[in-house]
Amino acid sequence: MKGEGELKSRYIFWALGILVLALIAVGIWSMSSRAYSAENLLEASYQKAFYNLLDEVNTVNILLSKSLVTSSDSQRIMLLTSIWHEAEKARSSLASLPLGSRDMTNLQKFFAQLGDFCNTLAKKVSFNETITEREWNILKQFKKNTQNLNRYLRELADDVARGRVNWEKGSFAQGMSRRVGQVMADKFVAIDQRLKEEAPTITYDGPFSDHVEEIKPKAISGRAITEQDAVEIGRKFIDNPQKVRYDVSVTARTRGLIHAYTLNFTRAGTDNIEIVMDVSRQGGHVIWFLNSRDVKQQKIDIEAAVDKAKKFIEARGYKNMEATGSLRENNSLTVTFAYKQGDVLIYPDFVKVKVALDNGEIIGFDALGYLTNHTTRKIPEFKISQEQVRETFSRRLDVRRIRKVVIPDEAMKERFCYEVDANLEDERYLIYINAQNGREEQVLKVVETDRGTMTM
């Protein structure tokens, strides 16, 4: 009896054991095969992006040649615009490749500048301006670079087609080592570096021009200050209606556009950083601060908040500032102010102020725009009169206001303009007319939301 029971139990035990092992085996097999097919899918999408890139570079190459030889201006505008589009597509393809952990900034920048430059050139031609010798040379240089790039990518494509290299390890042929899988990325880095050596730095009137990155701050003056000075300046600058006692200390020295001391304000007796502030090392200007305290239920209205913000910046030496817009988020309001010189509103000289709507305390300030751009402008004579501008628009639009402004163009150069605030039925627009030549510089659509006014 005992022996039979033992036999039975042993039988059950073995049966269960085999079943368990079989199921584990099936589980592992299904998991690895799923991972394997997922890896292949990924590889396929990377390869697709790679072939798209190949295609786009080839197209840019051909379009560039055509734009150099064509004798027709309208044809040239079309070709240059197509190059811009194609270059943007190439940027997108490049961003789909698994190169995020590598330094691939030269290739991205190359396509961005190429597209941007061609777009600027197309605009120039459309305004009947002639292309200068220097611009022709830049275009030729771009063509040379693109030709080389095309060749490097083709060589890589040949290897890919033969199944020699891939993005993910072991996808094409199992048993490939991890090192082989990295070859593709390595080759791209090599191409990126070669392009860096071949492509020159270029300046032109576009947002991606090299000169845009080399802007120097204009409103920083005065002597170098010490850390102790910075703490004093910071303590005096913040808005502190509740008379909170803060411990203030310098925690970093930043080396950005403006070199600064970073101050941390902690509530006395706690470790909680409540306010962080940057004070410029030259001249001791407060560049920005942010108070991260929790803001309670709204108690004051928008108008009162804007007024508080204006008084705050006036008390800190920002005179002649006009509120140009505000945005409400949760229980705080961010107000933008721009400097006014005479009757001209200078948009590049802006400061932002964040007001807590529970007690009207200023919980944020940012003057980087003002400190970077502010200087006294020589305002040129406006060659077009306000009446002329009004006349052009009042036929089609309901003009609400026209005022003189300075706006930055795409290349961060300043333009004196008339700002036409007008309605087309119930939609509001801001149109900028160059005061020197009457050219339309910019059209913005104004979107009024319950949170505030935004432009697009």
Partner: protein
Amino acid sequence: MSNFVRNVRLGTALLLIFILFIGVLGSKEHSAKEVTANYAVSARSSDIELLARLVAAEAGAEPYVGQVAVAAVVLNRVKSSKFPDTIPEVIYEPRAFESVSNGLIWARTPTRTNYNAVRDALNGWDPTYGSLFFWNPYKRVSRWIWTRQIVTQIGRHVFAR
């Protein structure tokens, strides 16, 4: 009899292991489904949502300004010629952000603080002065990244142009 009991116990133990294993497999499956569901939601919602997720995953334990800084880096990339043009493209650039690669971006729900940080960054506050890179210097990182010009350190992140 004692032998039978032992065998039954062993059998149950194995069965338990098996059930647990199934459980593990099952939960893997489950989390994979959650990932796709979240993905779909976020694809429909605005860029702010996505950015807040990235901030929560990359800088959730950082001080407030450190969170603003991480959001600002994404926006600086969008503006830069060296990176793609939109917030999703910058965030989903393969291997650009660790939290996107390891799925942490979907594992954490952004807090109100994360959202506030994103909004301050969108409103123009940039504690990094146009930085395009950030990394944790206490972890292993690619060597090339140290060749960038360092702007500042906030919390446990170094920011560089």
